[in-house]
């Protein structure tokens, strides 16, 4: 089972931290953006220590990326890897929701470790 999923989601892996590739879209250094980043960092450290990479993208600097990634709400967290892509909007203050959204509940989290 495990190997099957891994095979299906074969992904060009570059660098050891890129197994979990998360992108956080924000618009400027707003309170909400900072809060979201801190919440995300906290969850990742707890669950995915050493296996993740967070990229914060400021859409004010790269507005084109909003179109490319279909961003409507801010902040938006996109899980690019592993697939399937998952979107979570909001300041990530509801930890339980983030874990469900990222498939990091106890049942699934072991799958990728």
């Amino acid at each position: 089972m495990k190997s099957k999923i891994n095979k299906r989601h074969k992904f060009p892996v570059k660098g050891e931290n890129s197994k979990w590739y998360l992108r956080l879209f924000v618009a400027g250094q707003t309170q909400k953006a900072i809060k979201a980043f801190n919440n995300l960092k906290f969850i990742c450290e707890e669950k995915l220590s050493g296996q993740y990479r967070i990229e914060v993208i400021d859409l004010l600097k790269n507005p084109q990326l909003a179109r490319d990634n279909q961003i409507v709400a801010i902040p938006t967290l996109i899980r690019n890897n592993p697939l399937p892509t998952k979107n979570i909007i909001g300041d990530l203050s509801d930890k339980e929701c983030v874990l469900v959204g990222l498939d990091l509940t106890e049942h699934n989290s072991t799958l990728y470790m």
């Binding site: 279909q70 998952k86 979570i88 909007i89 203050s93």
Partner: protein
Amino acid sequence: MKKTKTPFKRNTLPKSPTSIQGLDEITGGGLPKGRPTLVCGSAGCGKTLFAMEFLVRGAMKYNEPGVFVSFEESESELIANVASLGFDLPGMIADKKMWLEHVHVEKSEISQSGEYDLEGLFIRIHHAIESIKAKRVVLDTIESLFSGLPNPLILRAELRRLLHWLKRKGVTTIITAERGNGAFTREGLEEYVSDCVILLDHRVSDQSSIRRLRIVKYRGSTHGTNEYPFLIDEDGFSVLPVTSLGLNYSSSRERISTGISRLDTMLSGKGYFRGSTVLVSGTAGTGKTSIASQFIEAACKRGERVLFFTYEESPAQLVRNMCSIGINLEPWVNKGLLHFHAVRPTLYGLETHLTTSIKLINEFKPAIVILDPINAFVIGDNQVEVKAMLLRLVDFLKLKKITAFFTSLTSAGDNMEMSDVYVSSLIDTWLLLRDIEVGGERNRGLYVLKSRGMEHSNQIREFKLTNRGIELVDVYVGADGVLTGSARLSQETKDKAEQLLRKQEIVRKQYGIERKREAMQANILLLRSEFEAEESEALKVIGIEKARIERFTQDAAIMAKSRRGDTNIKQTAKVKKI
């Protein structure tokens, strides 16, 4: 410095012309410039097209680039959808006149954790506007965000902020929304967009669809408040307000023959006015289409083009039937002077009929347009709509100086002069065909009910369909009333016999007088000869007497001489006296 008081200037609200046919007339110039307008309606009523046309025409005509933010259709879908209307979106995008932004929100892919805002959407719209310096923005069904994103409270606040933000940016915005139950929109967007609300409606009545547009509100401007029919066809969106056409067409004094010489005579000898509207109404089988065909033939002989809308007969059938009265339309069809457009009235709604008609007329450029019959459109109780449609068609035709020829079937027993579609006010020349039922026969009568601007006959003519075309015959008006058909014929023969009799009588009388004169002259001769005979007799007697007297005198003288007396002479004289 003296300050002069300037009079108050009536400033109208700045408007953004839509260039959508007819809409600018209703709105008095277009949508409110720099403000949002809500366009709402149920599914399939043309909201997206309305919005797209606003952008495309704005970019092409007024050099106002536009951003189309689509929440439902992708860019490629949009391009394909409007390509059929002749809008070249890829070309416009390349010219930086248009920006398509597909905002895709998929509920299944999104989960929420904590508070969010729509800054991403703001950034995207801002980026789009800045990229092409857009003046117009369309948000096509922004309400679909409600189904894609959680927490409607946040969304509501954010949408309100978005609209204020767009207003501050000074872009003219159209927001489309699906019509909700009882309200204009499902999510109550009309609360936020308070400047202009346009309602599109697509309803089906009596199995045919009618599209309508109504301006619910327009802050700071007067506007037409009626429901206006509109159309969507291959040229896009067009609103057809009756009021968009004023009564200011010029009128021709040229006259054209009706094709029936005696009918021309009835219309002061010259026929219809060019560009006028002619109605022939009558009960079934009175020859309405025949009169039309005769008119067509005359027009085609003059080399004019005729467009024939037939709603009941197929062209082939019509051509065949007209051959029976000696009118062959086929050569004109082959020459391209006559074009038939045969459709069932129920094929599509009135508005579509109107536009297809107008489009065909624009393409074919006829001098004469025939509609046979107009009351085929009347299905159920849509007479008001039919009248409105015909009114717009007549206005259009008058503007183009095209002679319109309508036929109308009146049902027997109705008031004949009350035409079925109440179009009498539109009609310039109205011919009425009617049955005259006398002596177990049905005959056709024709008269001119009205003919504006010309002297016309007040007489009923009997109308005959012969194999040489239509003939108009004087009806018999005599002591026995108006007679037609064989009653007229028998009355005419009776009259002829009577006349003959009278003539014979005169001849007889003349002969008698002649004979009397001859008799008289013979009498005169007889009398004269009698007289002459008597006269000669009398003269003879007189002569004899005279001679006798002479002789007596002579005898007396001789006697006296012989007696040698002279006194006896007197005696002789005395004797003579005795």
